[in-house]
């Protein structure tokens, strides 16, 4: 390192700011991958050629945008449907009080573009589902900073669906876009590098994120014991019975009036049963399923994600993968610090990267409603609200059995719920086509009668 004192006021050379980065990118090193080409090409790649998509402009998203632009990724798109709330300000450092109510993606992009010279961050203030394959195809790397399982599953399916295969079943190079998925919860987090069809996709490791266990209805209805039981009773049962804001008004947990009603209703019930501990804050936590979140964990996880993006883009060092000893880093910061990077297996019957229909065994007599219930409970599928259709007998088209997503079709098909599935499926081994909100593309389910 040079030790002579340089007077810096005189000439400001904006590229001097990359000196540290270039130190890393200009020289070969023992941990560099075989595809690492130290020198100007790599710099050019980083600054001008690579386009990164950051999904989510929340706690992780803010950190990611900062880290990635400081790492020299100057062309970034960021997508987020949310607007800024006061409760974001304890960690989402690109936002100020005066930004509350504005688009996260827009405010974050503006801030970064102003702070980091040369950065070109393009915001998209919309749902991920509003963008199509053509949009996602533009990016060389996609980073996920999401807080919902559903959005992760949808992105995973979308990105996996972009991969193309030649006649021998080999991936066309460059069509499987690598994804870096970060997640945090309180003092814990994870980083998962997904190379579609090479490493396990998010759907393959879904069992790591078990579905939320709900309280039994009889506990809520008859024998509540904890303050949470009282809140869930107010939310799940009493709201629908009373409809306090009119028959057409559904519960909206972000509406303070609704929350106040939930709180008062839960409190009354708690008092009636001698249960302590219902407060407004507690009610909010239970009803909105709030997960604690702090800046530091986001910073750690996002930094690890950003470094993986740098490695994926430049091969300056080996990225997390099965070969390097693990594609999934878990971080536990609750009791001292524990981290471990491990590998999972790809699942043969993965509905997303298994590339074949998921087989389910059912009894011939079950109704459409029961089949749908099975698809929701099946640990491989874990669908949320599937629409199902079968190949039509006569034409090459499809016949809809049930579709809850389009109102007119729902009206027409909801009576089918009580009919036996055998009205549409005459024999074992018919492939159903399934559309579900957690998936970006249609899935095939092979129904076998047992």
């Amino acid at each position: 390192m040079a030790s002579t004192d340089v007077e810096m006021r005189v000439d400001i050379d904006p590229d001097r700011r990359w000196e540290d980065l270039y130190r890393l990118l200009s020289r070969p090193g023992p941990s560099a991958g075989p595809n690492f080409f130290p020198g100007d090409e790599t710099k050019e790649l980083l600054h001008n050629l690579i386009r990164v998509l950051v999904v989510g402009a929340g706690g992780l998203g803010c950190e990611l945008l900062k880290d990635l632009t400081l790492l020299g990724f100057l062309n970034i798109d960021v997508i987020d449907m949310d607007t800024i709330e006061v409760t974001n300000l304890n960690r989402q450092f690109l936002f100020r009080k005066c930004d509350v109510g504005q688009s996260k993606a827009v405010v974050a992009a503006n801030f970064i573009n102003k702070r980091v010279p040369g950065a070109s961050v393009t915001p998209h203030f919309c749902k991920i589902q509003e963008k199509d394959a053509d949009f996602y195809q533009q990016f060389q790397i996609i980073v996920l900073g999401l807080d919902s399982l559903e959005a992760r599953r949808w992105m995973n399916d979308m990105v996996c669906s972009l991969a193309q295969f030649d006649d021998d079943g080999n991936i066309e190079p460059g069509t499987n876009i690598p994804m870096v998925d970060g997640g945090t919860e309180g003092l814990a987090g994870h980083v998962n590098v997904i190379y579609p069809f090479v490493t396990p996709c998010f759907e393959c490791i879904l069992p790591l994120f078990p579905p939320q266990v709900n309280f039994p209805m009889c506990t809520l209805a008859d024998i509540p014991r904890t303050p949470a039981h009282c809140v869930e009773w107010a939310k799940q049962l009493e709201w629908d019975r009373v409809r306090p804001f009119g028959d057409d008004t559904d519960l909206e947990c972000d509406d303070p009036k609704h929350m106040q009603w939930l709180y008062e209703t839960a409190l009354k019930r708690a008092q009636q049963f001698g249960i302590e501990g219902v407060t407004l804050k507690f009610t909010q936590g239970v009803a909105k399923r709030i997960i604690p979140a702090i800046a530091a964990t986001n910073a750690i996880v996002a930094a690890a994600c950003a470094n993986e993006v740098l490695k994926l883009a430049t091969a300056v060092s080996r990225h997390m993968s099965t070969e390097s000893g693990g594609h999934y880093m878990m971080y536990q910061g609750g009791d001292a610090i524990y981290t471990n990077t491990l590998s999972h297996e790809r699942k043969d019957d993965c509905p997303v990267c298994g590339r074949k229909a998921v087989k389910i065994h059912v009894h011939e007599d079950i109704t459409v409603a029961q089949l749908i219930e099975l698809m929701k409970e099946d640990s491989r599928l874990r669908l949320k609200n599937p629409a199902i259709s079968v190949p039509a007998d006569t034409t090459s088209g499809m016949k809809t059995i049930y579709n809850p997503h389009v109102k007119s079709i729902y009206e027409r098909t909801r009576e089918n719920l009580d009919h036996p599935i055998s009205s549409w499926i005459r024999s074992s081994g018919v492939e159903l086509t399934v559309d579900d909100p957690v998936m970006a593309t249609q899935k095939q389910v092979l129904v076998m009668f047992s």
Binding site: K66, L70, N90, R225, I290, P292, A293, A296, I300, A303
Partner: protein
């Protein structure tokens, strides 16, 4: 000491602006937040590492921070950053602070140093317009934007000069020793390319609310207190009659468990019966434990249903036959010299721990005070609430025993009875099974430890010994120390520097720092 100068907080500090803090408070609680707001953190050198640390502390609302940094000197000390934390008290926030501070090692990717243009490529909290300005002011200004409640101080001076008589940190541990002796935690971080090091230097931090993910709880099933036994006896397992559900015409047989009884009642009664049949002994061998669980199966058969509370009772069986062991971390605290009867440590934490120990050896009969918490279990509301109250009342009795012990200790030390509040005692009693103590080695111990004298051989086998990184980082320190001393020697501005004749390669053998302490 800079860190103590602006200790602005008062005891009447209240949490305001709670919506902004909601997501943090849900993690570390109101007391954790208060502790953070009373904290004052001092960073020496506003490197990226330090700035990231501060960002992660300012956002949730640390009380105040002080940045000591002047450009000329940061060129010398370079990638080294020291963070001192003055977050009082014994709450878990210390753990948090450490975790947060940890953010930096990873949050930072490059070695930071010399010129502001390079700051621009690394440090998000300097702007293009600020090139050439004092770094401490720029960083402070941009950090304070994040949270208007936080107070910031910038000291545009040489960090080393402020705290030490001797300029060269690596030659003199006086600063570190001063902090150590005053009990102020010190954190050291550095980052080079893709690797980094974080070191906590903590003389002692006592954590009361450690908030473990899986709390270890003692239900005293193996040695029930009278009120618990009395409660359990109300449940007649022979007839499976529920005491609160009167027999009516609509409940045709006494076996009708229309309402579930708490699993505690089954587990305890099964245990009592087992002991009655086995000369008062607990199930001990694997076979006996199996027999005990079979007994629970018999009860379940009598009920004739796959009752969820039997499943829970079987899960509780382990608690029933193995007396609760005090967690090893707590045992270590109770047997610490500061918890000894002859200790005269005046710290409230340790006085309460002494009382806790006396309780365990006396009234507690080997048990810690109960927390008063009862997890949810399958049961009807009244049984559950009654059982919960029984545990709460016993917890209150335990706590009053501990309070009495505290008063005795205070009297014996000629201290006023009100120097320790009831709230402090209750908090420790409630968390007795989860109190934690963090003590690390001092830096002096680390750097003078003879064990690293011959670590050079590890470098030949990096796969087996990941410690090689440690050796390399120590070597880098030594290399820098050598360079610094060379520079200083040529500018004739320092005394006590390292002899410039030494080969920097020697640094690879690890004892860079203490060999340079040539005083």
């Amino acid at each position: 000491m800079v860190a103590s100068k602006a200790n602005h907080s008062s005891d009447r500090h209240v949490i305001s602006n709670s919506e902004r803090k909601d997501r943090s408070i849900r993690l570390w609680g109101e007391r954790g937040q208060l502790a953070l707001e009373k904290g004052h953190v001092c960073v020496l050198n506003a490197t990226v590492v330090a700035t990231e640390v501060l960002k992660n502390l300012v956002l949730p609302g640390v009380g105040a921070f002080t940045i000591v940094d002047n450009h000329r000197v940061s060129e010398i000390v370079m990638a080294m950053v020291m963070v001192m934390v003055m977050a009082m008290v014994m709450v878990m926030v210390m753990v948090m602070v450490m975790a947060m501070v940890m953010a930096m090692v990873m949050a930072m990717v490059m070695v930071m140093v010399k010129h502001s243009e390079r700051d621009l490529g690394n440090n998000f909290f300097v702007t293009q317009e600020s090139i050439g300005e004092p770094r401490c002011h720029e960083v402070m200004k941009n950090l304070l934007e994040l949270n208007e409640e936080v107070k910031g101080h910038a000291v545009n001076e040489d960090a080393c000069e402020i705290i030490m008589s001797n300029l060269d940190f690596f030659n003199d541990f006086s600063c570190v020793i001063v902090l150590w002796e005053r009990g102020i935690p010190l954190f050291l971080g550095k980052a080079y390319g893709m690797i980094g090091l974080w070191r906590n230097v903590i003389p002692e931090v006592c954590i009361v609310e450690s908030r473990p993910e899986y709390a270890k709880e003692n239900y005293r099933l193996a040695n029930p207190f009278p009120e618990l036994s009395a409660f359990v006896e109300k449940f007649d397992l022979e007839s499976c009659r529920h005491p609160y559900i009167p027999l009516t015409e609509t409940t045709p047989t006494p076996f009708a468990f229309s309402s579930p009884s708490p699993s505690h009642s089954f587990a305890l009664q099964a245990l009592q019966r087992w002991r009655a049949e086995h000369d008062g002994k607990m199930p001990q061998t694997g076979q006996e434990k199996d027999q005990f669980r079979e007994l629970l199966d018999d009860f379940q058969l009598a009920v004739g249903k796959d009752e969820e509370n039997f499943v829970e009772a079987k899960a509780l069986a382990r608690h029933a036959y193995s007396p609760f062991e005090i967690p090893s971390e707590v045992k270590a605290i109770l047997s610490d010299a500061k918890a000894g009867a002859d200790s005269n440590c005046q710290d409230p934490f340790w006085i309460i721990v002494r009382a806790l120990r006396a309780f365990v050896e006396g009234e507690g009969g080997g048990c810690l005070p109960l927390s008063g918490m009862l997890p949810d279990m399958h049961a009807d509301t009244k049984s559950y609430i009654d059982l919960q109250n029984i545990y709460r009342e016993q917890a209150a009795r335990d706590c009053s025993h501990v309070s009495a012990r505290v008063q005795q200790i205070l009297t014996s030390m000629n201290q006023r009875a009100d120097v320790i509040s009831q709230a402090e005692i209750s908090l420790i009693c409630k968390n007795a099974a989860n109190i934690r103590l963090v003590r690390t080695r001092s830096l002096q111990e680390e750097y003078t430890s003879p064990c690293c004298d011959d670590w050079g051989w590890m470098l030949d086998m990096p796969e087996e010994f990941p410690h090689y990184l440690y050796v390399l980082l120590r070597a880098a320190d030594r290399y820098k120390a050598l360079k610094i001393s060379l520079n200083l020697a040529t500018s004739a501005s320092s005394s006590g520097c390292i002899s410039p004749g030494k080969d920097p390669k020697l640094a690879l053998h690890g004892h860079a720092l203490h060999t340079s302490r040539s005083k």
